[in-house]
């Protein structure tokens, strides 16, 4: 009997040796004359256990991890004899970290072969599209609106309303764009899905195309994500061959095709109008709004621009119905959010759950505190433009409005944990520095303000007129917030002001710091 093993080919698993483990397993097996079948999957998102090897058994998949190539022989022994092994984790589905999640968008990630349409279909794939094809475009949009789905890129704008605007704008050509320019530090959900379940994105975008009357879609991702881009491009070719993209999709009268495009190392292209400029082959300069992309978007045509996670939620909503999705969540944040736990954290990874879980539960219970074992001092939520929260705010529920009330944002759902060696003045300086490096240069508050911000924080750290210069930074942040064209300049004040507000003691002449993290 051939033994079926699963080894991730997710970039996060590759970075810690998944390929080497797969090769070692194959070569030990062939030495022993064992027939094994290694299926490369995405990651389950339990990154502290990567490389996480799974074996198919009558009792479900049993996991082992984190494995190294040196473990291959003993792992095969344990697998063949169904015996014990120090890395044995038991049934993967029963690992509490996974079990307490609500995986709607990530239901298949880490389980299926990402490039097998059969696998995708066997796990519920393309049922959403099948149902969408029985509805009118208006009915599809109504379903999305009722689900309460809001933009998962950060702004939280209702997806259904965006689609409706594009659907109602007459044009000879319309576009659907997936913003997979996941530049925020601490986020990797888009990458994981492109590598682990690319068909869910393709299906979601296809449904969007049908709903709004667009015939062409682009997925814009980052050059830092070569594996994700390659996997998605392959999946598109497979879908096209199977008649699920191109003319007359799945035998219907709708046509829709997709292309992946790669950015070139510009963070600002994650802003939707800069992204469109970049797709048009130009510098990634932010456009003033209005006109809205829904009216005047890519090449001047009506365009839906949504985050990858928004599109990836669509197949579930169409398949199971809007209510099934809206039943999860709190307040005006409906459904689930794939939250990413990162930085100095013990149990880091992808944790999809209904809105409403508190920051403290996420960091302490789910994340297990820091990897270094030192106390958690600060967490940054929502990427480089997100606020730093101290422990005192750990009761904040994960919800768009709750974070906004506390001068924060959930952004793309990334949480970066810092221990007590962090120097918050340095982090505030980095926020300004990052803004200066990445500013597209179009508006003055962002272009000049960020550089002045770095200089002024440097003065504070040197002990130069600390009080006056702190007031200056606060004033500058106000100008950037109100006067910048887009979120880069407009939101850089969040990390800076939150650091100043909650960690004021770090702003002054530099003290000799605690020993830095190992």
């Amino acid at each position: 009997m051939s033994l079926r093993l699963y080894v991730p080919c997710d970039a996060g698993a590759l970075a810690v040796g998944a390929d080497e483990v797969a090769q070692a397993l194959a070569s030990v097996a062939s030495q022993r004359g064992l027939t094994i079948d290694i299926v490369r999957t995405g990651s389950r998102g339990l990154y502290w256990l990567e490389p996480l090897i799974e074996v198919a058994t009558p009792a479900g998949r049993i996991g082992f991890g984190p494995a190294t190539s040196a473990d291959a022989a003993s792992l095969l022994d344990a697998i063949v004899s169904s015996g014990q092994h120090p890395l044995r984790l038991g049934a993967v589905e029963d690992i509490p970290w996974l079990k307490r999640q609500t995986r709607l968008t990530f239901a298949r990630c880490g389980i299926i072969d990402p490039l097998s349409l059969d696998d995708y279909r066997a796990h519920g794939g393309y049922r959403g599209l099948a149902r969408a094809l029985t509805l009118t475009p208006d009915e599809i949009i109504a379903e999305v609106t009722t689900s309460g789905l809001r933009g998962r890129g950060g702004a939280g704008f209702p997806t259904g309303i965006k689609w409706k605007t594009v659907a109602q704008t007459a044009a000879d050509r319309k576009y659907v764009i997936c913003n997979a320019d996941e530049g925020d530090s601490g986020t990797f959900a888009d990458r994981m899905l492109m590598e682990g379940d690319p068909f869910v994105l393709i299906e979601g975008m296809t449904i969007a195309g049908i709903a709004v009357g667009a015939t062409k879609g682009y997925i814009y991702s980052r050059s830092e994500y070569p594996h994700a881009i390659a996997a998605t491009a392959k999946a598109i070719a497979i879908a096209r061959k199977a008649g699920l993209l191109g003319d007359k999709i799945a035998g219907s009268n709708f046509s829709f095709d997709l292309e992946v495009r790669m950015g070139a190392g510009a963070y600002v292209c994650g802003e939707e109008t800069a992204l469109m400029e970049s797709l048009e082959g130009k510098r990634g300069l932010v456009r003033a709004k209005p006109p809205l992309p829904a009216h005047h978007g890519l090449f001047g045509k009506p365009t839906v621009v949504n985050n990858l996670l928004s599109f990836a939620a669509i197949p579930f909503i169409l398949d199971e119905g809007a209510k099934a999705y809206a039943d999860f969540g709190m307040g005006r944040s409906r459904g689930t959010m794939p939250i990413q736990l990162a930085g100095n954290i013990k149990y880091g990874g992808l944790f999809e759950t209904a809105f409403g879980i508190t920051l403290g539960e996420l960091v302490d219970e789910v994340g297990g505190g820091t990897f270094t074992g030192r106390p958690v001092r600060a967490v940054q939520v929502g990427g480089p433009l997100g606020a730093y929260f101290p422990r005192a705010l750990f009761d904040t529920p994960f919800d768009y409005e709750a974070f906004a009330t506390r001068d924060g944002l959930i952004g793309h759902g990334g949480i970066v944990v810092f221990d007590d060696t962090v120097d918050m003045a340095k982090q505030a300086r980095f926020a300004m520095e990052f803004c200066a490096i990445e500013s597209c240069g179009k508006c003055t508050p962002c272009r000049i303000g960020s550089t002045r911000g770095v200089e002024t924080i440097d003065k504070i750290r040197r002990g130069d007129r600390v009080g006056e210069n702190i007031a200056l930074v606060e004033d500058l942040c106000g100008t950037m917030k109100l006067g910048s064209l887009c979120a880069l300049g407009g939101f850089t004040p969040y990390p800076v002001l939150s650091a100043l507000k909650h960690f004021r003691e770090d702003f002054g002449p530099q003290q000799p710091r605690l020993q830095a993290a190992e």
Binding site: A11, G12, L14, A15, V16, Y47, W48, E50, G183, D184, S185, G186, T187, F188, D190, R191, S223, E224, P226, R261, M262, G263, A264, G265, A266, Y267, S278, L279, E280, G281, K282, R283, G284, F299, Q340, L341, A342, G343, N344, I345, G348, G349, L350, F371, Q380, P384, V416, V417, F418, D419, V422, Q427, F430, F434, I437, E438, C440, A516, A517, E518
Partner: protein, 158 residues
């Protein structure tokens, strides 16, 4: 893995440009393709792109210089990129970056005098749950510590 690039040849460059020029918004795909073939985008290629896409030279030059990825001259034989974004900072990335700079005797953003190693910052590889992260010639490395970094640096110096 040493990246092997073709030497620049205008005819080959023209072929690459022609191959992509029918795409919508072809400028970035063309720049990427040229850099993939030659390891950088030779200055001579910019006016060729401009005429193929019916753009001004200034427009193409503007695009080329806007994006951090595109190089105007070849990089060192190996390119070591260290993630300098927040999740990697939280996991000790600052000290590792300083260590790499000291070992190679260059600051981030530079190439060693023997043209062997280019050391660059990168802002998030999406490996933030196994931070700190690095990329050596396209190969990803997570859970970087002093030992793993030293091994990467010596591999790059070979």
């Amino acid at each position: 893995m040493t990246s092997v690039y073709e030497p620049w040849e205008a005819a080959r460059g023209a072929d690459i440009i022609a191959e992509h020029s029918q795409m919508e918004g072809a400028t970035l795909p063309i720049l990427h393709a040229l850099q993939e073939a030659f390891g950088y985008v030779p200055e001579e290629a910019l006016p060729m792109i401009a005429s193929a896409l019916n753009l001004s030279r200034a427009e193409v030059y503007g695009v080329f210089t806007f994006y951090h990825d595109f190089r105007s001259r070849p990089a060192g034989r190996h390119v070591l990129k260290l993630c300098r974004a927040e999740a990697c900072q939280a996991a000790g990335g600052d000290a590792l970056a300083a260590r790499a700079e000291a070992k190679l005797g260059i600051a981030l953003g530079n190439t060693t005098a023997d043209q062997r190693v280019t050391l660059e910052p990168i802002y998030c590889l999406g490996l933030c749950a196994t931070a700190p992260s690095a990329m050596l010639d396209g190969r990803l490395v997570g859970r970087l510590d002093e030992n793993r970094l030293d091994a990467l640096v010596s591999e790059a110096q070979r």
